[in-house]
């Protein structure tokens, strides 16, 4: 049961990753690879500030700001210096590795919630266990889970509301039809840059929350995160089965939760943790290819049955 609650909490925190990937890959149609760097950047900034006894709320918000800055750099590289979008992301991601090492000063920084105040410390005073459908569950874990759920729900609603504003609508149109929105007076370059800032801000915020939950920051924590976010988004898409933005946002949270659970179960059943990234990549591959295969399948079957009839 503790395993389940832990998976759900991490799943919720990483929905931020799925939100970010949703903004770039789906809404803006921009393949942003800054993600791996900005997850770790968010974690590093929050950890470094917490070590220096900065208020945890400030430390967490600083992660968002740092991620937004990284996204802005990717955006400027792409729109002002005409660098291919994929390459711009890779450049920033690579540069961030060194930046993150500087921020953390070493490759791994433990965050002891006894020695410093983190967001988790606020739940720390609650000791003992609670009875949940017959299971004894640590109250502290439950508080963290509920707080994460409320936070992600609010953020999801906020994101949805943002996409209904004049600015948010222009952002969606930029990904949908750049020529059209340019003819309506919108600077497409700035829109893309703004979208990248928002996306990487959300992703770094996820990194900042993750380090507090797991109790350490690691410079390697971002590796493979873009595939992780994609996997969550793809699962979410197929769960909700519509293109409506509100549902896609809901789906991103559901996908992230489900994906985390699947990983926990797979590990429990004896999947070698070293193979985790391989399996994740394979999963995204299958998820991308399967819809195409399924589209062709009924046709073949129909053709076969028609032949049979004759």
């Amino acid at each position: 049961m503790i395993l389940l609650i832990g998976s759900l909490t991490i799943g919720l925190i990483l929905s931020l990753l799925a939100f970010g990937v949703l903004v770039t890959f789906r809404v803006l149609a921009f393949r942003d690879l800054t993600v791996d760097g900005s997850v770790a950047l968010g974690g590093a900034v929050t950890a470094a500030l917490l070590v220096h006894q900065v208020h945890p709320v400030v430390a967490t918000l600083a992660a968002f700001a740092a991620g937004a800055l990284a996204g802005t750099v990717t955006g400027l590289l792409h729109t002002r210096c005409q660098i291919n979008g994929l390459l711009a992301g890779i450049l920033v991601m690579t540069a961030l590795y060194s930046v993150n090492l500087h921020i953390l000063t070493k490759s791994n920084v433990p965050l002891d919630s006894e020695a410093m105040t983190t967001l988790i410390s606020y739940a720390g005073s609650a000791t003992g266990t609670m009875d949940l459908f017959g299971w004894q569950v640590p109250t502290r874990e439950l508080i963290v889970l509920s707080a994460s759920a409320v936070f992600i729900a609010l953020l999801g609603l906020g994101l949805h509301a943002f996409f209904q504003t004049q600015w948010g609508l222009a952002l969606r149109a930029t990904g949908d039809n750049a020529q059209m929105i340019r003819a309506l007076g919108v600077d497409v370059g700035w829109m893309q840059t703004g979208g990248l800032a928002l996306s990487n801000g959300l992703i770094a915020l996820g990194g900042g929350l993750l380090v507090q939950y797991q109790g350490f920051a690691d410079v390697q924590m971002g590796i493979g995160m873009v595939v992780w976010g994609l996997a969550s988004m793809i699962i979410g898409d197929s769960l909700v089965g519509t293109k409506q933005l509100g549902w896609l946002i809901t789906g991103a949270v559901m996908g992230s939760l489900l994906f985390r659970l699947l990983v926990a179960i797979a590990l429990r059943w004896g999947l070698n943790p070293n193979d985790l990234k391989l399996v994740t990549a394979a999963f995204v591959f299958v998820a991308l290819v399967l819809p195409e295969v399924l589209k062709h399948l009924p046709k073949r079957r129909r053709a076969a049955s028609e032949k049979g009839a004759i």
Binding site: A170, R172, G185, D187
Partner: protein, 270 residues
């Protein structure tokens, strides 16, 4: 209203594929004029329109629009003054957004976009009324994604979007060329209706002799990146498609003569 002076543009200069698309075009359009541009493929008529829209920077020459020197203005900045309809019906609308959302975007053409709601209750009613006036039977389908509509419907809506905020200049780039005859007719009717109602200054490029003869109050014929013919007033009113064909034939013959003459000169002197 619109003034082009010696507009010159060469694409891919210095290569084997060099195209001298505009060779010093000067054109002046007064406020309220409806000018139709016609010409063969590669005559530079679409390039002329794109030069006004700001899709590239001119090599030489100036563009003035509504009292501004817009020669160096980026495309999105010129959009404040210009409404546009494209040849491809898919270019003018965002397919995954609803009809209402597309219209709401057009309603803020050239204005700042902030964090206010894009579609308010009041706006909804206002836009619904505007769609109803077009008699497209789309006023009850405002929440459908625009991508599910036909090319003709999308082009009609693009036309509405281009004129939703009254533009100083309306640019129509062969906007019926990709439509079936029935939809093309409807879009042309709507074009006439909107241009006349709002007294829009309009620059329209077309392939169709029929449209060129029947629409607008001035006709500009282009060939080889230059304006070769400019007809206005009563002569334009009495113009028939056959007259246009005859003129095209004259121009073609003159060009052929030019080329043979050039060949002859090359052979005898080089």
């Amino acid at each position: 209203m619109l003034e082009l002076r010696d507009a010159t543009k060469t694409f891919l200069p210095g290569t084997a594929n060099e195209v001298r698309a505009l060779r010093g075009v000067s054109l002046r359009i007064e406020a309220g004029e409806f000018v139709v541009v016609i010409g063969t493929n590669g005559s530079g008529k679409s390039t002329l329109l794109n030069a006004v829209a700001g899709m590239f920077v001119l090599d030489e020459g100036r563009v003035e629009l509504a009292g501004h020197d817009v020669t160096r203005w980026a495309e999105h900045r010129r959009a404040k003054l210009i409404g546009r309809v494209f040849q491809n019906p898919f270019h003018g609308t965002a397919p995954s957004l609803t009809i209402l959302e597309n219209l709401a975007l057009a309603l803020r053409r050239g204005q700042t976009r902030g964090l206010g709601w894009a579609v308010s209750r009041r706006l909804h009613d206002e836009l619904r009324e505007r769609v109803r006036q077009m008699s497209l039977n789309l006023e009850d389908r405002l929440d459908t994604p625009i991508g599910s509509l036909s090319g003709g419907q999308r082009q009609s809506l693009t036309l509405l979007m281009a004129s939703l905020v009254k533009p100083q200049l309306l640019l129509l780039d062969e906007h019926t060329a990709a439509l079936d005859p029935k939809s093309a007719d409807q879009v042309i009717r709507l074009t006439e209706q909107i241009v006349r109602r709002d007294r829009l200054t309009t620059l329209m490029v077309t392939h169709s002799m029929h449209q060129a003869a029947n629409l607008g109050d001035r006709l500009v014929m282009m060939s080889n990146g230059q304006v070769v013919c400019d007809i206005a007033g009563s002569e334009k009113l009495s113009l028939r498609p056959e007259d246009l064909l005859a003129r095209f034939e004259d121009i073609r013959r003159a060009e052929l003569l030019d080329e043979t003459a050039a060949d002859m000169l090359l052979k005898s002197y080089v």
